[in-house]
């Protein structure tokens, strides 16, 4: 199928299948799936600036569906999501401007490829280490005390002591988040969301791969709520990202619309799956995904071939 906006030929079946897979990921992990979508679009010959802009646009639609599901399941902290949108929009604009700078300099493909590989590998390494430590800690506790079944389902993190230290950091204004059971400085929330936005604007998608871990480990939001809130926040921030990238000529909306047809059905399946897994297990299952994205980027970069 020919896509005149980006002047590219891509199989619609390929786009629908990619959309379906990242739809499942979005519903299950609360991430936009840009670590797969971006490299997958790059692998069929789109320039990184188009892959990034189109990925952000596709994520808007997918997140609407997945966030609606999570809202119905009570997995969304609306107050946190709205506050985070402010920082994310700022970060997204900075990221989009960086892409424009690289586009003008003529090295957007090389720079974004190298940075994305480094980031995807770092995220996977960190999450496997953390989830493994948490699961080991739970096992130890279980064998020491006569643990009940519910202890195994408890959403714990081996970073809990550091998260509590961040929550004790009192810098006015302090924000209460009753849904998440957290009271934290507004500036910590803004900083976390700004970093997420920066990644979204620079690498595409909703940057859930960086925001979701930060929600859990830095802000101390329970994993199920982090998944739903992240999706809700992505609707607002990715809409802004789509607008910003579209006026810079980086969005092929037809590709995004085709991908969304697969994502619609995948997102429903993913959201239902979260009900069957505890927090650390969701995080452990997330580990290989950024590595797959990194592998696709390495393949495209080294061989220069389209898939």
């Amino acid at each position: 199928m020919f896509f005149p906006i980006s002047n590219s030929h891509i199989s619609p079946i390929y786009l629908v299948v990619i959309g379906f897979l990242i739809g499942i990921m979005g519903g299950f992990f609360g991430v936009g799936g840009s670590f797969i979508a971006g490299p997958a679009l790059r692998a069929v010959g789109l320039d990184w600036n188009f892959a990034i802009g189109t990925d952000i646009a596709h994520i808007v639609g997918k997140s609407v569906v997945a966030a609606k599901r999570h809202r119905a399941l009570g997995n969304v902290d609306l107050r946190l999501g709205l506050i985070m949108a402010i920082g994310t929009m700022g970060g997204t604009e900075v990221g989009a401007q960086l892409i424009q700078m690289l586009k003008r300099a003529g090295n957007v493909n090389t720079v974004v490829s190298i940075i994305s590989i480094a980031i995807y590998v770092s995220i996977s390494t960190f999450m496997i280490w953390e989830a493994w430590r948490t699961l080991r800690l739970q096992k130890k506790r279980k064998s020491r005390s006569k643990a009940t079944k519910s202890a195994n389902k408890k959403d714990e993190s081996s970073f809990s002591h550091r998260t509590r230290a961040i929550q004790r950091f009192h810098l006015w204004p302090m924000i209460s988040l009753p849904t998440s059971g957290v009271r934290i400085s507004l500036w910590v929330i803004i900083l976390v969301s700004f970093i997420g936005g920066l990644f979204a604007g620079f690498l595409g998608g909703g940057a859930g791969y960086i925001r979701m871990p930060m929600l859990v480990y830095v802000l101390g939001i329970p994993t199920h709520l982090a998944v739903g809130t992240d999706l809700f926040e992505i609707i607002l921030s990715a809409s802004y990202g789509t607008f910003s990238h579209a006026i810079k000529g980086n969005v092929d909306i037809l590709i995004a619309l085709v991908m969304n047809t697969g994502a619609a059905i995948g997102a429903q399946i993913g959201a239902i799956l979260t009900q069957y897994f505890a927090g650390p297990k969701i995080r452990l299952a997330f580990v290989p995904l950024p590595l797959i994205g990194a592998a696709i980027v390495i393949y495209t970069m080294w061989t220069g071939h389209k898939i």
Binding site: M1, F3, P4, I5, P12, V16, A57, H58, V60, G61, K62, V64, V65, K68, S239, T242, F243, A246, I247, K248, G249, V251, I253, L254, A256, L257, V258, N260, T261, A264, I265, Q268
Partner: protein, 80 residues
């Protein structure tokens, strides 16, 4: 238990098949006709293109969600 799983899987496969037919029709009827107009907006009216892009992607997501939910209910209802 096995019968339940088989029924769910069968419903899911039927759903995918029906959905694939709908989506293929949508590609040819809607996206084919939209492409010229969207390319023109992309080249000459970037601001309008950006707003239309957001509206299209959200509108399509909402409609597709209604379609998939309806299909889920229809086929699961029949399989139970």
């Amino acid at each position: 238990m096995k019968a339940d799983r088989a029924a769910t899987l069968r419903a899911f496969v039927i759903e995918l098949a029906v959905y694939a037919v709908l989506v293929t029709g949508y590609f040819f009827l809607v996206l084919h006709f939209l492409s010229g107009w969207l390319q023109d907006l992309h080249l000459h009216h970037a601001m309008v293109y950006a707003l239309v892009a957001i509206a299209l992607v959200i509108g399509q997501a909402v409609v597709l969600e209604i379609v998939t939910t309806w299909l889920f209910r229809l086929l699961r209802g029949r399989s139970e």
